[in-house]
Symmetry: C2
Subunit: 382 residues, 2 copies
Amino acid sequence: MQRANDKILFTPGPLTTSHTVKQAMLRDLGSRDFEFIRTVQEVRDGLLEIAGVTVTDKGKQRYDAIPVQGSGTFAIEAVLSSTIPRDGKILVLVNGAYGKRILEIASTLGIEHQAIVVPENEALDTRALEAVLLKDDQAAKKITHVAVVHCETTTGIMNPVEEIGRVVKRFARVYFVDAMSSFGAVPLNIEKAGIDYLVSSANKCIEGVPGFAFVLASRDAIIRTEGYARSVSLNLLAQLNGLENNGQFRFTPPTHALLAFRQALRELEEEGGVAGRNKRYTFNQTTLVQGMRELGFKEYLKPSDQGVIITSFCFPTHTNFAFNMFYEKLSEKGYVIYPGKVSNADCFRIGSIGRIDQAEIKALLRAVKETLAEMNITLTTH
Amino acid sequence: MQRANDKILFTPGPLTTSHTVKQAMLRDLGSRDFEFIRTVQEVRDGLLEIAGVTVTDKGKQRYDAIPVQGSGTFAIEAVLSSTIPRDGKILVLVNGAYGKRILEIASTLGIEHQAIVVPENEALDTRALEAVLLKDDQAAKKITHVAVVHCETTTGIMNPVEEIGRVVKRFARVYFVDAMSSFGAVPLNIEKAGIDYLVSSANKCIEGVPGFAFVLASRDAIIRTEGYARSVSLNLLAQLNGLENNGQFRFTPPTHALLAFRQALRELEEEGGVAGRNKRYTFNQTTLVQGMRELGFKEYLKPSDQGVIITSFCFPTHTNFAFNMFYEKLSEKGYVIYPGKVSNADCFRIGSIGRIDQAEIKALLRAVKETLAEMNITLTTH
């Protein structure tokens, strides 16, 4: 794949993107210009298609795509601050830092919240959720929203958002999925999963550049949120209404990032859509794990919980292993990995997403091998 | 100047930028990578220099530059939501839509607010401000913050932020200036003007691409705001602390927009800094006004209030004039102007900022002349 001399990014984003995606930014479009408005529409329609929504005449489809300036966290906060009424309450299923972040946002916004927390190396299931919602139904029925992270980037674990969705819908709550790291690479039909709000970001599996995130919102849900917004910048319904009225963002959009993203969507389609991308990432991830195991590394998660997006590896117990040196030496060789985020175990992470393929994964594995040799580390293979 | 085949943007932003600024985006840097961290530091130091702050050892200088993801409005909201205590009150001086937007944000955030409103074609002065602050001092002393827009993009009017600052400081209030459209092109020493918080955006007079905005904050002021933040994404003090701790944004930064901005800062310096840029924009604006007058157009503002950033022109009274057609015909010729925003007069706007020079202004004037002829409009010159 064509690339500049930059280091290759094995991170959860920003990622290595294609040269053609970056080249799409060599333009200056006016934010009210017809061509830019068409670009925004193409991006919004493309996002819906990825989520399995049939794009029909305006207003007839059941979901809308709403781009939001800023990073993914901005869009998460936009959902919480715009769609939960003052007397609402959110139940968050947590098995990592991004679940906790949803709680932190709720807390900062003064939104009542509750959590079901499981260890970071355990996928969430529906039993505890059913119990909590049943209890809530029998009591004051305060919980209005349920939130979960699809792929917890903390570890790389996948949570069963469809199963969880069936329970949330059975109990008639609003369902919010943080699909930041998975959207575009893990097949998911938003409607079948019963999701009301899904968030992801431009610089994840669709392989655009950072600058905006987006919310896919059920029209039924969002049209009922008039007056809920606690912010001007992050007002989702106002953002949607602005886009529907004249095709424009309310406030200056990152025009270049949108041009890049349109190109990224086209390249996703060329690769065979979500299925095609999933195939490449799966191949990347299995090659990575196989190679790392051969070098003596162990994954933090058990294989059945592991997604194809990012993998946490335990620090080897060898006395010569020091993560900062390991990281620096790989970085000097042109390979950027990612620190760990697990709270109770020493890990580092390697992403398998972005414009990387077998060649890059194998080059990384060679660099890891060299680095271990330089650090005088010999690991026992399992 | 080198450019692609894009239309030339005579707008308040996104603007026409240099090819070299856009080319700086043809890279993918990791957000934790040393080179990116250095880029962020160079950008932050460059912003302080533009504001006349001497960059010394960390923590010793009196101001800090805090980039914020999103559009300019996000940074305005960040200042309001992060720096005003729960029992604080903001007084906003208003002569246009951007002053009103500050009020709207305060209102949405539940912040007590008061306004001094003058007509959109009148620059603000200090008399009413003095009276209000005097009265507030004699009463409960509720006003904690005073806000004003430097260049009101609604009309292009310049407000005397230094004079206003002297009054604000005499009354010992926190002073917030929205310098969105002026920063980098209108000389302003932030410390001498007594400004505690100044906001501008990447895609204005520094001629970067959109994707982030920034706040220049007095250290004395911002260190006292612990616990004030009403948002996670827009928490200014947390953003500053993150940057000071490890040089990184708390949440994914728009890496490409920052690379473009670093290049834009270098090109600003090559042009002679703020003075050099001011000279070019002044020449652009006077050429524009001279030419438009010769074609029979009249400015909305009186010349003494008019800034060099953007100029509002009154709709001609000729019966054949229809703005949409005028706009479209200019756009087809490759020149993008901007609709008006004045509430009580029909105007359109033409920006004189971005990577445009005499050649582009003159080409625009020729296109305006041709367009008038096509529309069978002959105007009386004044």
